[in-house]
Amino acid sequence: MTERAPRIPWRTAEVLEVVAETPRARSLVLRVPDWPGHDPGQHVDVRLTAEDGYQAQRSYSIASPPERPELVLTVERIDDGEVSPYLADEARPGDRFELRGPIGGYFTWTSADGGPLQLLAGGSGVVPLMAMLRHRARRGAPAAARLLYSSRSWETLIYRDELERLARDDARLGVAFALTRAAPPGWTGPRRRVDADMLRELAFDPAERPRAYLCGPTPFVESVATALVALGHAPERIKTERFGPTGGQT
């Protein structure tokens, strides 16, 4: 029997640039030859091979919008992780590693899907949602959108400046941060985990029938999804991507 070519083949990605995002996260700007394009929300598998042949493979959400020719991944270092310390600390321009994608057509949003678009991010779960917002901005898409982004502190918010700028320049985009552990002096925003009251205040009303995308650590995704349904959002309009316990691939 002839083996058919893999539908999603492994390609060699080259690091073009490294961008520090927070003390623990950075973005890798990659050139991937013959990249077929992607939808916002999709991810890639990254495979690293040590000199003795040992391989480790993990998934990372694509941070860049499809309109951008380079592929951008944002990686948060997980203490004691296996792949993330390499990507978050070691990899430098010129390095190459194997990557395949795009993967996962379920958790995607393009401007054609319309809105209102409700995004809920826990920690590094903001990455695929950022691809959606970047795509939406490039398209000048009319769909109203809101992001509620929960993070430990002001310093751990990824893309913070860019998100504030996007919201400032777009009357139809609302961005709110909920800080769960530490807040800067003068902080007037939410200082706790996302709960029903916060959703009532900051998320689209269920009557507006938003399309909701939730991404982050499994406990975050599950508790927020439950809260949304309890508030009256239709379960079939809620899409989730669980990142596991640590909120990111190790």
Binding site: R7, H43, G104, F107, T218, R242, G244
Partner: protein, 91 residues
């Protein structure tokens, strides 16, 4: 390092790369009807367990085992017992 096991569960999204080596279409976009409770979900929304051993996909509503796919030495063992019907949209 102790964690509740349930924090570790993922969803079908995370199995998309693995299953993408088997199916010629993106199965995470297909809709599976649970043989246990009759509920339907996108495969991407099923609850994924034991990712290191293959893919064990359970109903998000009732935890019924829908699919178990493993890859021993490159072969595929495909158990779809809990999927009453799998619907794949036309391209």
């Amino acid at each position: 390092m102790t964690r509740t096991g349930d924090e570790l569960r993922l969803d079908g999204n995370a199995a998309a790369g693995f299953l993408g080596e088997l199916f010629t279409f993106d199965i995470t976009r297909a809709t599976a009807t649970c043989d246990g409770c009759g509920g339907s979900s996108a495969v991407g929304a099923l609850v994924l367990y034991a990712q290191e051993m293959g893919a064990v996909l359970r109903c998000p509503g009732c935890s019924h085992l829908l699919m178990c796919v493993t890859r021993p030495h490159g072969a595929w063992w495909i158990d779809l017992r809990g999927v009453r019907i799998l619907r794949v949209a036309a391209p």
